[in-house]
Symmetry: C2
Subunit: 448 residues, 2 copies
């Protein structure tokens, strides 16, 4: 039985940052985490040979000032994502090298891609990040899927496939899962499309020494015993002057609560009084993206010897995107691949052996048969994770932004809402998690 000023639900980046800001301001804080680890949607994997690479979220990049600031405070260093050599594309059955973000295509395809990208960026810049529904065209844009926009505005099959891949890479979802308005919001939230998709100067530019889960581990060191693991919050009661939270282990009392979990997880906590109908319905309409992140370790990063970067994009699944996720200071090579959206849900029901075989087949398609013989293989299906139930973040289908989704971040009595889904800048990213945390902490500080 604890009694604190503020209880934070969720020990991911957002929850722990909120807790730390409150602790720095002298408030008594408790963080209740359902899992037996901190990190939320970040998770380090330690290979048998000792190297650490991420099986959850991992990247930071320019314009992500809040997470970069936090890394500085925590004395965490970054290093550049491996980005030397040629990338590969597999389109029309042919493997081709390229450099940069967009594969080599025929001129008319490149023009098609370029025009669509220009239009997306131009429309995105018109969005009010505080509430995208304020745009005069929001009713139209929020009533169509991104798939529909692609069908209308992108003429060539190859360019369409590129936008499908971009959707997978950015949202862990298919274009049909997304409101077009949300896509515009997300592009502006993450600066522009080049920044979202890029490695150098983009959202995939840098990695964190020791793995991104260290952010949460460092915050936890500073918060000490305030962080309680394996305490899933099952129920809460709001009274006039406090909130009581019931976990599997006991009960905690706080003046205010900050939720720092994906929207769908808030629904799963029995609340008294009930959440208002509109808020429950809003949370119902924000499902998580779906991704299986896969890594194979090899004796060496053998693709580098052939002048390859380890980055591939492909119209053949289930692994359509790969990266070189090797660890600096190690001679070993790590290939990383993503299975996303519909395919992630399909492959989540296969057993691990089937998944490993198929992922390695995909790696071999890009990097040769040597990829079939890793030292070690690991994957993680984030839909199976008890307290995330999907990654990277919540998706906004048509009709959600236009019906009050900006109110997601409004407090509800003594309940406040953090988590990257409540961010206006870099929603869905570490940076958004920090922005949301600092906004929620400031709300609470003003009130307690």
């Amino acid at each position: 039985m604890g009694d604190t000023d503020v209880t934070v639900v969720g020990a991911g980046i957002s929850g722990l940052t909120a807790a730390w800001r409150l602790a720095q301001a002298g408030r008594r804080v408790t963080v209740l985490e359902g899992n037996d680890r901190v990190g939320g949607r970040t998770l380090n994997h330690r290979f048998a040979s000792g190297e650490v690479a991420e099986i959850g979220g991992q990247w930071v990049g320019p314009t992500q000032d809040r997470i970069l600031g936090l890394l500085g405070e925590l004395n965490l260093d970054t290093f550049a994502t491996w980005n030397q050599g040629n990338n590969l594309t597999l389109f029309g059955g042919r493997l081709k090298p390229y450099r940069g973000t967009i594969p080599k295509f025929a001129a008319h395809v490149l023009l098609d891609i370029g025009q669509a990208q220009w239009r997306l960026d131009r429309l995105a810049q018109q969005i009010d990040l505080d509430d995208p529904s304020r745009h005069p065209k929001a009713p139209l844009w929020d009533s169509m899927t991104f798939a529909e926009w692609i069908r209308r505005q992108v003429k060539t099959a190859q360019a369409r496939t590129v936008f499908d891949l971009a959707s997978a890479a950015v949202f862990a979802a298919k274009p049909h899962d997304l409101s077009f308005l949300h896509v515009l919001f997300y592009i502006k939230s993450g600066t522009n499309l080049d920044t979202l998709l890029g490695v150098d100067k983009g959202a995939q530019q840098d990695r964190i020494v020791g793995g991104s889960q260290r952010i949460c581990e460092e915050l936890t060191l500073r918060l000490g015993s305030a962080v309680r693991l394996a305490q899933p919050v099952r129920a809460l009661k709001q009274t006039r002057d406090h909130v009581e939270l019931i976990t599997d282990q006991g009960s905690h009392r706080a003046k205010r609560v900050i939720f720092a979990v994906p929207p769908t997880m808030v629904l799963r906590i029995t609340q008294e009084p009930l959440l208002p109908g509109w808020r429950d319905q809003l949370l119902q309409r924000l499902p998580q993206g779906a991704v299986i992140k896969c890594m194979a370790m090899y004796e060496t990063p053998f693709w580098r010897e052939r002048g390859l970067s380890g980055q591939a994009t492909s119209e053949v699944g289930p692994v359509r995107l790969t990266f070189d996720n090797s660890v600096p200071g190690s001679r070993k090579g790590v290939l990383m691949g993503f299975i996303e959206g519909d395919e992630a849900r399909q492959w989540s029901s296969r057993n691990e052996g089937q998944r490993q075989a198929e992922v390695l087949r995909c790696f071999a398609r890009y990097y040769g048969d040597h990829a079939l013989q890793p030292l070690e293989y690991v994957d993680k299906c984030w839909a199976d994770e008890a307290f995330a139930r999907g990654c990277y973040a919540a998706l906004f289908p048509p009709g959600v932004w236009g019906n009050g989704a900006a109110r997601l971040r409004d407090p509800c009595g003594r309940l406040h809402f953090a988590g990257t889904e409540t961010a206006t800048r870099w929603m869905g990213y570490f940076d958004g998690a920090v922005q949301a945390a600092e906004r929620a902490a400031a709300e609470v500080l003003a009130l307690t």
Copy 2:
């Protein structure tokens, strides 16, 4: 602590029907209901003067053979929905009388409506109700919203408004909330568009004497002490040979469990082992529709004296649809109205006084100032209902049917799934609730 062959979660039509079929076959059954009443999404309201009318689901109609059969078994009678006199439309600021389903419009608007209806019905008939994703065009149809289809295929503003109203009436949702594939599925599931929308020969043809909640009350009489109220299931554990269910009141053990609750409610039960990732994600992607059902009682059904049926359709909200919901044998008149979709979520956060004033203003717009002075007013916001969190049923946004939604009705170990959302015929209606119940009961009977 109970110990039964089968525990059913949810005492709506589907759950109680499943339980009764199992009891009839000699199985020991328990029904656990979270609420302090049976009925699920049906709910009778008793006015001060004693008349009973429904503040939840209420209608049955032709081709709904399963619910009509059940009514026969339970000795429940039906009566015709009041459908005499002129209907009213309010379009372009003008109130006009009409008969039948479609208001009087200019010829080119009627042609526009007729052609769109013809196309919808024709496409719907091609759908495989067992799995709409089998249609060759399913990837296209499931990647667009119904709003997008209307924008492309319906040319006149008035005809578009008619389809907006049809979407509200049938789904309690806006066209942008719905996958076009789901709309086609739903039309075929409910026979055709005329049947879905119609009163005579349609889904609104008949009402149940004593109110539709009597279906559940009669089933409960037959099941006796097997039905346990105020027992919300919070957690369950599946082991090799049984399932343990934990409610606020205690624990129950069963060989098999049938869920007969909306998909979003399944998510809120803590499960051990966790539901598979694909199933959790599927449930996340099935939010409930939103409706506030409103009734006002008057000394007489005064609109009838003016030759009006009490049915209105309007492009002005929040009440865009009304019905005469008077009770046979009473001299009183009851007007009933629906607030649906986006507007239901908006109005759910207003207080009851504001809602009453606005609803009566809408009634007055159609039926004159006399409507401002009811004897009694009542409304119910179904998003606020703890164990439904929305009505009429779950919505299928783009990308859900195409990514395995037909598996919603697959068992998961010892868990089976009923509820109208798992029906193939008349999904979302009482009839679908019965079909799903009988299918789930048959599954369990074959195994226990």
